[in-house]
Structures are given as structure tokens and as C-alpha cells.
Assembly symmetry: C2
Homo-oligomer: 344 residues x 2
DNA sequence: CTGAAAGCGCTTACAG
DNA sequence: CTGAAAGCGCTTACAG
């Protein structure tokens, strides 16, 4: 019923091989023949059937996108945007992105995403923190994959990184330039390498400006070894503010935390940015709608997705290239929550 | 390299036809033979290759999920959750859900999602408001589809609806029972049928309790003919409150709007729920983290996804069934923003 | 209850 | 530059 390569061949008076050749832009076909075939394809609105092509080429045409379930279900819009970036990029090559989630108690024998079980993807993007066993599985089975915003210490995998260090450094420096002296860090678990890097940027900026005396870090940081949330932000800053009312700036490990910090500060009767300035990281959509609007380090999520796709694509079509890391740069966006101290 | 049906057949000493029969649980196969084949399949960890199976059966094994781009990029977590529900359900039948977006200026000749161009899906779920031309395309090409949280007046398509009317009715009734007398409606465009229904529920609840005098609706409602956002919520309630300071309750067309309403009320120096109570609709994640925590009508997003999948699945495997509408019921969740008036 | 054979719609050496 | 043929890994009538 749907038109097939045979219909095209018949109508063009050539063999299906020839049609296939022009379809795949390979081999030599007389210009005149090619034109004729092309116009017939156009005219009959012929589209090659994917499953047939896949069977013949032994490629799947699919790329998997695996996300820890918590990241998808929660307020976290971050990785959905990254996904969207991949989807955009994949359109050009007619790849499909299959999105699925894994959860914490991951057992490769039980919980393997079905597209992995059925060998139904040519490669996989892993978004954020994912189970190590999953990474090992991919590694062992030589399935091309790329880590997005995550890394495994001591291992050299294909990865897309965010420039966490410099983003954090610049954010904290801007607080210092505004005249802030007592700058807190509020964050979640350091299992996530991004958070660790942001903390490092925070520390180094303080050091560069000579603020980092003996017990600064212990005094002004609040980190809890759990996933980030508004809740820990709110809790953290309240605790800090109670013992250290002189705090006049906060750099948060991400926007989710920062949103909690905002409420925390306000609930203690302090003004933002009058009394204390706040900067987050990520630039998730709610950051624009908070009150005051959140200053943050903006991460180009769509670009990350695109880059992840590109790297994966190259890797799939050239399995011999060495694993590489690409770093995506970020931008400091000053909104309302971190204006200069003297003009609130 | 990967093990195929031939390997299994050889090892079991049968033909590939027989293996195929047990794989598909059809036809008669001697129990003893079946057992043997099954255990060999297990042992060799054999998985049939999807593309081969698809070629043979002329099915794609894919379902499309189409979302208006705005809904995906914005704060809107709603339809991502619905997607997740579909994905969960699809795992059981080894269907893949292909998620893509369309945008506003949709031209079926240009902007058709690639899985539609290539006939690569057995059916499609349309989430929320989508271009009419897209619906017409699917209808014309007899591609099974289901509308999720959307409907086309005068047309009888497969659809999953939210019980918007009753949810709204109950929410408003709860405000009335708390002693609220001047209850506003703040909302966005009525192009979205859900919002229209919620408004109807609001109106009927007022009427039932005899509150609906002549100009109540004109006086206390604020609706703007745009997509909902925090911004319109904030703007709307401020405007209403300025002319009508007696307002003591607000029912919002959704949580996004309600979040803006919360800020609006607070920025005018009024307390929630002391001075005015607020109820939203949807129960998106941020509703739990606002201050005060938002009372809302909770919509089971994962269930909606599951139900959409089921309906689509049935429709695909039995094209003759009549289009049907399934309504998902909702739950009123009272949190902090709508406590009783006398005990704030 | 089971096997031989045709077919699904492509691609890709291999001849010519 | 082009065609005939084999093959990708399955399913499905059809015999037996």
C-alpha cells in the first residue's frame, strides 16, 4: 500500500539497486538518472521504511537517553531541557531518542532499560548521576555512550561537562565585588561532581580575594549529603543565619537550593539583596519567576544536549576515536537577588 | 555475532518456525518442545531483533508523543509527567515512546514530526493543546491517536480527560465552606478546554450556594487570553484586589497561575490564608514548595499517561472500536494556602 | 504438532 | 554507470 523502493524503480525504469544508491548518496549514478529518480521519489512522496533499512544495515537508528528517575520526577527541569536539545539535533540525522529512567536500586540483570536488553540503540547518553553498574555494563558491552554532567573518577569516558568551576568562581567574585564579605555556600551531596567543582570555585574565589581565613569554610558552609532540594536550601541558610547573622551573601550549589535559600532568608525577616545577596547555578525556569528574581549562572541546556548528540554520533560512526571531554561554558546572569549592596 | 533465531533453532534441533511460534505464544507447540526451546532461549540470552520483527509484522513498535514546544520548555512539568506515565506503561509491551515537539506555526508539509513522515509509529498521543492541522493529518491518514487533556469541539476522538469540572466545583465549594464569600477566578486562555471547564465548575459552585448575584463574575474574575503563567496570576490578582479589597478567596485555573497569585497577594501586604485563601489546580511539584504551601486539585499525571497508553494500545490492535473518552478523576488537596478563615 | 518456503523492504558486494 | 542476487532476522500461511 505504502510506496516502496520497487515502485520507484519500476516507474524510473531502473533496478532497485540504483534507487538505493541515490537514496544513500553513494557510488556512481549518472547525473541524469539520479535526477529522474529523485524527482520520482519527490513526486510519489516515497520514504524508505526504517525497519527494513535497519535490518539491512544492522544499525538501529536509535539513541538512548537515560535519566535517574528522581531527576525526572522532581522539580528538576534541567535534564528535560538537555533531552530536548538532543532531540533537536537528532532530527537532522533521523535518529530517534528513546528516553527512559532508571532508579536507585539498579540491578543490571533486572532493571536494564528495554532498549539495552533488545540491543535497540546505537549509543546512549547518560544524564547526570546514574548507577555505576549501568556505566560498567555499557563499557563491557562496547556500547558507545556519553556522560552528560557527570564523571567517574579515574575513568576516561566520553563526557560533556559544564564549566562549573569558572561559573562558580565568577559568581562568587561578583558577590565580593559588590562588597559582600561573609559569603556562604549552601549545597547538597558531593557525590555529584558538579557540586564539588562549584564548591571549589567558591573557595578559590574567596582565596584570591584574601577572604579565606582559618575557619571561614567551616563557619559559612552548609552541605548536606543528600540530593539538592528547596528544603535543604531553606534549612541550611536558616541554620547558618542563626549562628552567623553577619552573612551578607550566599552562593548556592544550584537554583533549586537557591530557591529554598530565598524563602529561608525572607522567613527570618531579612531582605534580598539588601541584607543578603543570593546567586544560584543552572538557570532553571523558576529562577526567573521567584521574588526577587534569582541571579544565577546560566547553563545552556539545549547546547549541552546538542553537543552530547554530536559527540555520540561521531563516536558511533567512528568507534576508534579516543574518549574525549567537551566543556560547555556558562554565563553569569545578574537579576534581582544579587544587586550591589548600596543600591538595593 | 549476536545470537539469532537460527542459533536457537539449531541448538534445539527444531526449525526456526517453531522457535518463532513459541516466541509469539501462538499456534500449537508440544509442551515438551516449548519448554526446551524456552530454556535454550534463556540460556543463550536470546532477544529477537526488533527491526526484523517489525519488518515482518509491518508494525513499528513505536508510539509518538507530541507536545507543543511551549509546554515542554516552560515551567510546565505537567506533560513531562504524563509522558513518564506512558513510558512506564509502554515498558510492559516493549513499545517505545518517541517524544517530540511541534511549535505554533505548524505546517503539515514542513513541520511534520519525522516519525510521522517516515511512518514510524503505530499511534500517537497528543498532549495538551496541539495544532489542529496536526490532528487533521492524523485523522486523514487513519493513524490511531489519542488526545490527552484536550478536545476538539464537535469532534469525537479518542481522548483522556481530566475531571476539571468536578475538581473545580469541589475546590470552590471548600472555599465557601470555609466561610469565604468573595471568591475570584484568575485564569488564562479559554482556548484550552480544561480551563473553560474549570471556570464552569467555579461558576456552578457559587451558584449552588447562592453567591452568584448579578455582576459577581464580571467583578471577581480576571482572565487573559494568553497561555497561563505566574506573571498573569500576579498581575490579575493585584488588579482585582485593588478594585475589590473584599476578596477573600481565589480559585486559579492552574498552579502556575496560582503561584503568581500567591506573590501578588503577599506583595500587597495581605496574608494567606488569613486574609485570602488560594487554591490552584494540577498539583505540579512546586506547589508543595511554595510558601505558603499551595492547596490544589491534584491531577494524577502518571495515571493519565498510563491510561492514554492503554487506550492507544487497544485502538492500535483493534482499529474498529469506536472513539471513546475516559475521564480521570482528581483529588482536592488542602495544604496551607486555604485553611479555614478563623484558624489561620 | 512441526518444517519448508515465501516474503517483509531495504543494502551491498559483485559482475558486467 | 547499472543490474541480478544474496542477505539482514524475523513471521506466517500452507502442507503434511
Amino acid at each position: 500500500m505504502a510506496t516502496t523502493i520497487k515502485d520507484i524503480a519500476r516507474k524510473a525504469g531502473v533496478s532497485i539497486s540504483t534507487v538505493s544508491l541515490v537514496l544513500n548518496r553513494r557510488g556512481y549514478v549518472a547525473d541524469e538518472t539520479r535526477e529522474r529518480i529523485l524527482s520520482i521519489i519527490e513526486e510519489m512522496d516515497y520514504k524508505p521504511l526504517h525497519s527494513a533499512r535497519k535490518l539491512a544495515t544492522q544499525k538501529t537508528g536509535n539513541i538512548g537517553y537515560i535519566l535517574w528517575e528522581g531527576h525526572f520526577s522532581e522539580v528538576e527541569m534541567f535534564y528535560s531541557q538537555v533531552f530536548l536539545g538532543m532531540e533537536y539535533a537528532a532530527r537532522k540525522n533521523d535518529y530517534y531518542i528513546l528516553l527512559t529512567t532508571v532508579n536507585d536500586h539498579f540491578d543490571p540483570r533486572q532493571d536494564l532499560p528495554r532498549f539495552l536488553q533488545y540491543n535497540d540503540v546505537d549509543g546512549v547518553a547518560l544524564a547526570g548521576r546514574v548507577p555505576l553498574d549501568l556505566i560498567h555494563y555499557l563499557d563491557k558491552h562496547a556500547i558507545p555512550f556519553v556522560l552528560v554532567d557527570y564523571e567517574v573518577p579515574g575513568k576516561n569516558y566520553n563526557t560533556i561537562k559544564i564549566d562549573n568551576y569558572n561559573g562558580a568562581f565568577r559568581a562568587v567574585e561578583s558577590l565580593i565585588e559588590q562588597g559582600r564579605k561573609y559569603i556562604s555556600f549552601v549545597g547538597g551531596t558531593f557525590i555529584h561532581p558538579s557540586i564539588k567543582e562549584r564548591y571549589r570555585g567558591y573557595k578559590d574565589a574567596l582565596e584570591k580575594h584574601g577572604l579565606l581565613n582559618n575557619s571561614y569554610l567551616e563557619t559559612y558552609s552548609y552541605c548536606e549529603d543528600v540530593e539538592t532540594s528547596r528544603a535543604i536550601g531553606e534549612k541550611g541558610i536558616k541554620k547558618l543565619l542563626k549562628s552567623r547573622p553577619e552573612i551578607d551573601g550566599v552562593f548556592c550549589c544550584n537554583d533549586t537550593t537557591a530557591l529554598g535559600v530565598l524563602s529561608g532568608i525572607q522567613s527570618m525577616g531579612k531582605t534580598i539583596p539588601g541584607d543578603v545577596a543570593v546567586i544560584g547555578f543552572d538557570d532553571i525556569p523558576p529562577a526567573e519567576f521567584s521574588s526577587p528574581k534569582l541571579s544565577t549562572v546560566s547553563v545552556p541546556k539545549l547546547d549541552i544536549g546538542k553537543e552530547a548528540y554530536k559527540l555520540l554520533y561521531e563516536r558511533i560512526h567512528n568507534p576508534n576515536i579516543m574518549p574525549q571531554t567537551r566543556t560547555i561554558s556558562v554565563d553569569l546572569v545578574i537579576r534581582e537577588s544579587s544587586q550591589t549592596k548600596n543600591k538595593p
